[in-house]
Structures are given as C-alpha cells and as structure tokens.
C-alpha cells in the first residue's frame, strides 16, 4: 500500500468530514445519531466542567463565604477583591513576576522537549545502531523510578553545578530528552509511518536528516502538538521541582505563588487562592485551544513536499 499523498489525503479528509463514511451503512439517520451522541457528550461535559464552574464561582465569592454553600452562584457574596488581593500575592513580588517566570520556563521546556525528544524518537524508531534495544530499555527505566527517591541526589548534582535558584535545573534537562514519556510517544508515532515513504525518499538521495525533517516531522504534527501541549501543561503545573530549585520569590513560578495562600499554620486566603488558580488556568486552556487546531489538522493539511 502506498502512503497517502497530500492530494489523496486532502480529498479523503473532505469526504470524511462532510459525512462520516462509517454511518452510511448504519440504519439510524444521521441527525438522530448525532443527537444521541450530543446528549451523551453534553451529560459527560457537565460532570467534566462542574469543577471549573465551581472554581469560577468561588473565585468571585468573598473568601469567608466560600465554604458556606457549595452552590455555583455567588449571589450576595459576589466580589472582585479576590483578584486584586490575589494578584498582589503573599511573597515579596506579585503575580506578574510569577507569570513571567512560568512563561519563560514553560516556553523553553516546550521547545526543548519537541526538539530533543523528536530526534531521539527518530533514532529509536528508524535507525539501526549497536545497543539500540539496551538504550531504549534504559530510557524507559528512567521513568519507572519515583521522583522522590531522586530528589536529593539531583539536588546535590545541580547544587554542585551552581545552578540553584536559577531556571537551569528546570530547563536544561528538557533540551537533553530527559522526559522519556515524549521520546516513547515519538517512537510510537514514527513507527506508525509506513516504511515505504522513507524508502522512496532514500532512493531520491535524501539523507536521514532530510527524511526526518521533510517526511517524519510533517507527518507527525499531531505528535508534536501533543508533546507541545503536554509539556506546556505539565511544566506549567509542576510544583515540586520549582519549589526545590527556585528559592527566591523573584524566581518563583505560579504554582509556588499559589501555595503561599494556603499556609496551614496561619490564616489562609482561599478566595485569593481560587481567583489566582482560575487566572493561572487561562494560559493553559488558551494553549490547549490553539494547539488543537494543529491536532485537528492531522495528516490531511500537512502533506509531503
């Protein structure tokens, strides 16, 4: 079987978008099927979205009234104060700094993960070299050891390098493919690409780097988009590593800033916590929304050159 050419795929995509080909053999009319699907999805959606609605409602409530009733409407307790007190934060610096830091660390992590994990993924998926299986197994082992057991040795390593209280311990490893999850993800996506495609390109005199760049990368946009989205979300939400490696508030990320609202030994401010949690979700949701265009694009609109 030949791999889908750009034109073919584009046509196929248009066809399947217009009316799902699978439904043609089914007895129920399309609109009823769609209604059933929508009803199910809407029901599930409510369960999925309820926490966000609740979080939103809580963010607009006076802090002391948050735990009075679990309803979704702030009513008489409506306030915007949580956002202003929240943004000022409890450390020395306000959330402008936390957000800037989070954006820098997260942005670099996304780039680093895509770049290094795609390269490693290609090597494991398509190239033959000595110890390939052993190295692959070793790579998988690195995600099997719980993080807590590695914290102290890693801390000593980065402190010896003089990297403490900087972004380096959080960013440099991402450029060195230390997140085996993404390497493995790329391997699985690359291996799904028919071998004939790269064979044909080799006959045309393409080297491995050209094949990687001009065939595998365009065909794996969903994988790249997935890696980008997950890197963004996981780095953005990461708590433990920034907590340990970043010591001065000028370097703190958003989750650490959030944790300061909840000190169990003194007064807490849940209102500010929920307001800032909500604000900190916005970039993540925004990134996810924009990345999903890439995901939807799939192979159809990328094509081969």
């Amino acid at each position: 079987m030949n791999g889908p050419g750009p034109a073919q795929a584009r046509i196929a995509e248009t066809v399947s978008r217009g009316s799902p080909s699978k439904s043609r053999v089914h007895r129920l009319p399309n609109n009823i099927r769609a209604m059933i699907a929508h009803t199910g999805l809407l029901g599930t959606s409510f369960i999925m979205i309820y926490p966000l609605l609740w979080l939103t409602a809580s963010a607009f409530r006076a802090p002391e009234s948050i735990f009075v009733s679990p309803g979704l409407w702030p009513g008489e307790h409506f306030t915007l104060d949580n956002f202003s007190t929240g943004w000022r934060g409890l450390g020395f610096v306000d959330f402008t700094t936390y957000f800037t830091n989070s954006f820098i660390i997260t942005g670099l992590s996304v780039l680093g993960n895509i770049f290094s994990c795609a390269l490693a993924g290609y090597a494991f998926a398509r190239l033959r070299f000595p110890f390939r299986r052993t190295l692959f197994a070793l790579m998988l082992c690195t995600i099997m050891l719980p993080l807590h057991a590695l914290l102290i040795p890693q801390y000593i390593l980065f402190s010896t390098l003089g990297w403490l209280d900087s972004f380096l311990p959080l960013v440099v490893p991402k450029f060195l493919a230390t997140e085996a999850f993404f390497v493995f993800l790329f391997v699985q996506f690359f291996r799904a690409i028919p071998r004939e495609l790269s064979e044909a390109a080799r006959l045309d005199g393409c080297g491995h780097f050209q094949i990687f760049l001009r065939i595998f990368v365009p065909l794996s946009l969903p994988a790249i988009a997935t890696t980008a989205a997950f890197s963004f979300i996981w780095t953005w939400n990461d708590f433990l590593q920034p907590l340990i490696y970043l010591n001065s508030p000028q370097n703190y990320t958003v989750p650490i800033g959030l944790s300061l609202f909840l000190d169990s030994t003194s007064e807490s401010n849940f209102g500010a916590l929920f307001a800032m949690s909500l604000v900190s979700l916005l970039p993540v949701i925004g990134f996810f929304l924009s990345f999903q265009r890439l995901l939807v694009a799939g192979i159809a609109t990328t094509g081969l050159k």
């Binding site: 791999g3 196929a12 066809v15 399947s16 799902p20 080909s21 699978k22 053999v25 089914h26 699907a37 959606s45 999925m48 979205i49 926490p51 966000l52 609740w54 979080l55 290094s116 390269l119 490693a120 494991f124 190239l127 033959r128 070299f129 070793l138 790579m139 082992c141 099997m144 050891l145 719980p146 807590h148 057991a149 590695l150 040795p153 890693q154 490893p173 450029f175 060195l176 230390t178 390497v183 493995f184 996506f189 291996r191 690409i193 028919p194 080297g207 491995h208 780097f209 990687f212 065909l219 969903p222 988009a225 997950f230 939400n237 949690s277 996810f288 929304l289 995901l295 939807v296 192979i299």
Partner: protein, 313 residues
C-alpha cells in the same frame, strides 16, 4: 547543542564507511542530546539512589553506614505498611487503568466522527486533567463524595441513604479511582492524534466492501491505533504505580482513612521526608522500579501478538 552535528552532510563519508556503520553514526548523532542528558543528568542520581538503598542514610553523609540488604529484608519481612501500600496500589492500577483507557478510547472515537462543536468537547474533556491535581480538587471531592455531598443528594431523590465515601475505608480508594478515570484527557488526546493519522482511504475501502461499524473498528481502527494503545497502556500503568499527587491532595498527605489510600509512593514519601529514612525509601524506589520493569517487559513481550506498526508489513 547537537544541532550543527546533525546537519553534517552524510554523503561526505559515504565513500569510506559501510552503510551499516554510517547508520550507526547517524543514529548516535540523533541520540546525542539524549545520551548527554542520560549520562550527565539522569544516570548519576539513579545510581546514587541505588547506592543509598544499601545504606541507612538519614540526612547526614558523615554518619551514613552500609547496611547491605537490610533495607530490602526489613521491607519484605517486617514492614506491614509496605504490604498494605502494595495491595492498595495494585488494586488502584489494575482497576483504574483499563477503565481509564477504555473510556479515553471510546470518547476519542466518538469525538473523531466529525460532530459539530468537536473542539469545545475536546477542551471540556481535557479540563479535569488541567485541574486534577490542584488544591481545589480536595475541596471539591468532599462536596461530591462527602456525607453531605452531591452523590448523596442525588441518591436521596431515590430514597437511598448514602454515607461519606471519602471517609469510609471501604470506598475511599474507589473515589481516588474515579478521580483518576475522570482525568482521562491525556490518553484521549493521544488517541485522537493517532486516529487522525489513520489514512482515510482505509475506511473508504472498507465501506465499499460493506464492512459494518464494529468490523471497521476491529479490523482498521484498533490495529492502526495499537501502537498508541500500547503506549497509553504502558505509560498509564507506570503512572498508576507512581500515583502520588492526587491522593496526597485528597487525603491531606495521610493516606487515610485508616491507611486505605496509602499508596506506595505516598508511603515512600512519608518514609523519606516525614521519617527521614532516606536509605529505606531508596530501597522502596528500587523495588518499585523492578516491579514496574517486570510488568513493562510483559507488555513488550505481548506486543508482537497485538501491536501493528506501520514499518513492518
């Protein structure tokens, strides 16, 4: 940074090297960032934790002693909490991972049918994964599964009197499993990406042949998606054994009630940081690694029977 090296024109050496040797060199060039990271950043701490697992390290290197296999022996012979956590964690993994995957796959396939508002659904279904580990969840989970929670309000309509599902040791683990399944967004997104990679003409051909929906699912969707089913299976299993944040947040770090949600990694954390038995915690980490590696190996051995790659036809 390895970028310049990978750009090195491969035909420059074509004359002298066999194609196999050349491929090896290129392979290592592609792998260069990973190798550097592995040797410089990952390997050291991993070996250090292995070494520490044979010591009584408790925060001071000056007073550390080698204790041989004592930590491992103690774990298997006299630590009741260890066995308890192993049981809790295995139940959690073997119940929640299959449900999670089936749910993620079902939703991904439903969403891939070209329904309108697809993007909105996808985002909504991913939302729980975005907030699944925040403190707000601990609060919310009480509102849902507590004595006066949402679930009991719904049950009361049907005249059923509920109880506190979070507070009862028989059901507490169940609520954590629900929480995990609820955050099915990550595997769903990966399945969706994979579904997009299946060439549409496969379905076209099948439709012309008169294949029914479930036949298409069985003969086209599932085989084409099998590398990602495999991926999600392995990674969800590993993630399940290492589950920490959710249960830490929901149980206030205690693993309660009555130890019924004391997961392996939570116990490891308590041993390491609450009790400062860092050597013992390292040993626990290595036992977990060996268990996960064994199960992963079984996955890989089974893969040849059910995982179909595009590069082997």
């Amino acid at each position: 940074m390895p970028r310049p090296t990978t750009k090195m024109p491969s035909h420059a050496r074509r004359i002298r090297l066999s194609s196999r040797a050349r491929e090896s060199i290129i392979g290592y060039l592609f792998l260069a960032p990973w190798i550097v990271g592995f040797v410089l950043i990952t390997l050291g701490p991993i070996l250090a934790s292995l070494a520490l697992s044979f010591t009584d390290f408790s925060g001071s290197f000056d007073r550390m002693r080698w204790v041989g296999f004592d930590n491992y022996i103690r774990m298997f012979t006299s630590d009741r909490a260890f066995w308890g956590s192993l049981k809790v964690t295995s139940q959690y993994v073997f119940i929640s991972v299959p449900i999670l995957l089936m749910f993620a796959l079902a939703v991904a396939i439903t969403l891939n049918r070209g329904l309108s508002m697809l993007g909105i659904y996808r985002t909504i279904f991913y939302l729980p994964s975005l907030i699944g580990t925040s403190v707000a969840i601990a609060v919310l989970w009480r509102y849902v599964f507590g004595e006066h929670g949402l679930v009991n309000h719904v049950l009361a309509v049907f005249g059923i009197e509920g109880f506190s599902y979070i507070g009862d040791p028989r059901t507490a683990l169940g609520t954590i499993i629900v929480l995990n399944v609820w955050t099915f967004g990550a595997p769903m997104v990966i399945f969706l990406a994979g579904l997009r990679q299946i060439p549409s003409e496969l379905y076209e051909a099948a439709t012309i042949d008169g294949a029914r929906n479930w036949q298409q699912f069985w003969h086209i969707t599932l085989p084409s998606l099998s590398p990602l089913v495999f991926f999600n299976g392995v990674l969800s299993m590993i993630g399940g054994f290492q589950a920490f944040t959710q249960v830490y947040v929901v149980s206030d770090g205690t693993g309660g009630p009555a130890g019924s949600t004391l997961f392996y990694t939570l116990l490891l954390y308590q041993r390491a940081f609450t009790q400062l038995q860092l050597g013992y915690a390292s040993a626990m980490a290595w036992v977990l690694l060996l268990m996960i590696a064994a199960i992963t190996a079984l996955f890989f051995l089974s893969a040849r029977y059910w995982v179909h790659y595009g590069d082997e036809q």
